[in-house]
Symmetry: C2
């Protein structure tokens, strides 16, 4: 059985180019090609594709909106974004919406075939710069601030961040309320903050908890 592919791409030249490229191989079947995604849900039912190639910028609804729509009714079809945008927000919005891969158009010619194979094998094909962007996201967590909090202080801070009052923390840890307060005061000094909110917000954002 050939792999069923559905294409959404508003640029007619590129759209036909993609089709040509894929039709060279008989393991692929283009079940449909459209210049916008306004009927995406209906078309999804009609064609029941294995893979969708989705442009982002199209007249009517955007490719990212389309992905969101698709994911409300179908978690299985593999979606590869195919676009010129390599900025942070397009990439993350698309991935959060539920895309499985993200290819820049300039990489399409040499990576499309392998990417379709990869996405069907449970992978997440991405252009190199996109992959770097994605892992860069998780690396931002670190570095900046090695606050010298003691173990006890970290423990109390994280309990505080879970929404516990001083009283609750005290009884959780089996120590006096006043002791909790003393720890909290030192935490404030070390973090250069003056309230629970600031401490918790700083702690969460800088990944101390």
């Amino acid at each position: 059985m050939p792999v069923r592919i559905l294409i959404f791409e508003d640029n007619a030249g590129l759209r036909e180019g993609l089709c040509q490229l894929l039709m060279l191989r008989d393991e692929y079947e283009i079940t449909g090609r459209y210049e916008n995604a306004s009927q995406v849900i209906t078309l999804l039912d009609q064609h029941n594709p294995d893979v969708i190639l989705m442009d982002i910028e199209m007249p009517g609804i955007s490719g990212i909106e389309a992905v969101r729509l698709i994911r409300t009714v179908n978690r299985d079809v593999q979606i590869i974004m195919l676009t010129v945008f390599d900025d942070h927000s397009h990439v993350f919005d698309a991935l959060k919406a539920g895309a499985n891969g993200y290819l820049l158009k300039r990489n399409v010619s040499d990576r499309l075939i392998s990417s379709i194979g990869e996405v069907l094998a449970g992978g997440a094909p991405m252009s190199p710069s996109i992959a770097r962007l994605v892992i860069g996201e998780m690396q931002t967590s670190k570095a900046s601030a090695p606050y010298p909090l003691s173990d006890r202080e970290k423990q109390i801070l994280s309990s505080l961040a879970d929404g516990n009052s001083f009283k609750m923390i005290a009884s959780d840890l089996g120590i006096s309320l006043e002791t909790v307060r003393t720890h909290i005061k030192r935490i404030y000094e070390k973090l250069h903050v003056h309230s629970q909110i600031e401490a918790v917000s700083k702690a969460i954002r800088e990944k101390l908890v």
Copy 2:
């Protein structure tokens, strides 16, 4: 100038295999190969590599620890993890520590060469299952619970999360303190929380702000 490669891998067989594979190509130069990373900083200085292949499980210090150490002194060398572990915590710890790529040993034979090229070109080579894990991470920021906060409420919540007191929020927005309090009460109801801390912690973690 050949690409200078440094290898840390405790399994002698695999280590030699990697060398054989790379030495087939004269654009690569193995400047060193070691069975543990205990001298990693010294060796880094000595060899000044372009790419490091790093196992995770080694006697002495782990590959992840080694990456952390390397990143304290060098942001430029490209590091590819080479390991059998494909679980969430190994992968994320390694990437957070500063690795640029993550290959499973079972994919090494067919992807090593292309991965080295990719990492040098500013990409982030990953085994397919790893890539899927990574993008799965950002999709967990699930849209499942879109709390129906009004615009004003979101604004106030995010100001609160920045560490502002009710008083500060009131004067920032040019409204009365009591109005801020009313909004806050409604936010608590909608979020099912009972304090600033809980609200802010929930807001940040579910990234409503």
